[in-house]
């Protein structure tokens, strides 16, 4: 797949507003970035799809041309990614995923149920006092409240506010419904039994998105998650999991995607830093089906909610990248109704290519909010 600019060179409004997007759709191409007033669309496509489109357009006498999309840089900055930084309004991560597109469209994931399976959640956090949250614990002897911090941080990134009590906006799906399942105890550990129970619970509640910032550093696919991922997708629920922090790239170790992210039907998320480079710790794709990194998201120095009087903390990990993707999934689901496999395709289809990064490290590229939603 590559990104192309498709131009319909005519001024006829009927062609530009109806026929052209119809032709794109008929070839399975997205019209989310089709601009009818310009007669120009930006699509992710195989070149043979566009050859077919070209033939159909010629048959209908609709003038059409296509070119690979070019990347433009501000001249003063030169090529190469600029360093993003947290501003008073937004964390660098929310800027990177282009949250402003959702803000402008008024899409905040309302009505979408996001399950975060982690160390629990602090429902008394000052930024979540007015938010409804369904919580459950699958850890023996522990209530659903987060006594670690990791779970609250992940809930914060996936579903936290755009305008918190203090500091920059840090949550992606600011109006999504929070389902916090505690599957890791206060010591940060859990087992298949607690995690699978959490997935089953999320499916009972028909959560469209299941976010799992957890993993084990094992290369082998663990069969229970192959079945769980497939059965979740069949019900229209997408499991999004952290690729793993087992790399140390600065020492030449690229690591591997661990379980459960290495299962087919489970989306594996890598971490990038504020210059949009693969994080030093972020695991590389494994060479088996399902072992690929599927997408990347901000995961270094991520500011989000924390338990206790501290309120906020800045930490790093593919755990922090994962809820960025889950939040974007909530926005897409809320705006378009896409679920399951369709939602997976929309997430990867809208990801932006990361210059200079290997597909093995970042998959489809940087997860981002689609542009062009009607408000």
């Amino acid at each position: 797949m590559a990104r192309y600019v498709v131009t319909f060179d005519t001024s006829g409004p009927a062609v530009l507003e109806e026929e052209a997007p119809g032709l794109l759709s008929a070839e399975g191409l997205s019209t989310l970035m089709y601009f009818p007033r310009l007669g120009i669309g930006v699509v992710d496509a195989q070149s043979d799809q566009l050859d077919l489109l070209n033939i159909k357009c010629r048959e209908r006498r609709v003038p059409m041309s296509f070119r690979p999309e070019l990347t433009y840089y501000a001249i003063t900055e030169g090529p190469g990614p600029a360093q993003l930084t947290d501003t008073a309004e937004l964390t660098w991560g929310l800027q990177a995923v282009e949250i402003t597109a959702a803000q402008q469209a008024g899409q905040a994931g309302a009505g979408v149920r996001v399950a975060i399976l982690d160390t629990g959640f602090d429902p008394d956090h000052r930024d979540f006092g007015s938010r409804a949250a369904v919580t459950e614990s699958f850890v023996e002897g522990e209530d659903p409240t987060d006594a670690h911090g990791h779970g609250t941080h992940c809930v914060g990134t996936a579903c936290g506010p755009w305008t918190p009590a203090e500091g920059p906006g840090y949550g992606v799906g600011a109006e999504a419904e929070i389902y916090s399942g505690k599957v890791l105890g206060a010591d940060g550990s859990g087992s298949d039994a607690t995690i699978l129970a959490g997935i089953d619970w999320a499916l009972q509640h028909d959560c469209q998105i299941i976010s799992m910032s957890l993993g084990a550093d094992v290369r082998e696919i663990h069969p229970p998650y192959v079945a769980a991922g497939r059965r979740a997708l069949e019900r229209g629920s997408l499991i999004i999991a952290a690729a793993g922090n087992n790399a140390q790239r600065s020492a030449g170790d690229y690591g591997f995607v661990g379980a459960p992210a290495n299962s087919p039907h489970v989306m594996a998320v890598a971490a990038v830093d504020s210059q949009l480079r693969t994080a030093d710790f972020s695991a590389r794709s494994s060479p088996h089906d399902g072992g690929e990194v599927d997408i990347a998201a901000p995961g270094v120095d991520v500011h989000s909610a924390w338990i206790g009087d501290e309120h906020y903390r800045r930490i790093s990990g593919t755990s922090m990248a994962t809820p960025h993707v889950s939040g974007i999934a909530a926005l897409i689901c809320g705006a378009t109704g896409a679920r399951g496999e369709d939602l997976w395709q929309q997430l990867t289809g809208h990801a932006s290519t990361l210059q200079g990064q290997d597909d093995l490290d970042v998959g489809a590229g940087l997860a981002r909010v689609p542009v062009g939603w009607a408000s």
Partner: protein, 85 residues
């Protein structure tokens, strides 16, 4: 001596007969802990860690309608004070 925890995944074509599968797993020695009805998975304990896992795995795997039997893995995130979690 810790008992081994297992995850049993039921085959698609036996998910509507999960109760029968559970009965046969119990007869094969599994002490059932959870039935995850939507996922079609059962968690439970049988045998002893580091002792008879091979035998127990074979016995549970032989039950009709079982897709896979896997020993439960552990997962963790870093401690709260770690820079990378």
């Amino acid at each position: 001596m810790a008992r081994q925890q297992w995850i049993v995944t039921v085959r698609d074509d036996h998910r509507d007969q999960i109760d029968t599968v559970i009965g046969e797993l119990e007869a094969a020695g599994l002490q059932v802990e959870q039935v995850l009805g939507i996922l079609g998975q059962i968690t439970g304990r049988a045998g002893t860690v580091g002792s008879d896992e091979g035998t127990v795995h074979s016995r549970l795997s032989a039950v009709a309608g079982v897709e896979s039997v896997d020993s439960a893995q552990q997962y963790s995130v870093g401690p709260p004070d770690a820079e990378i979690q």
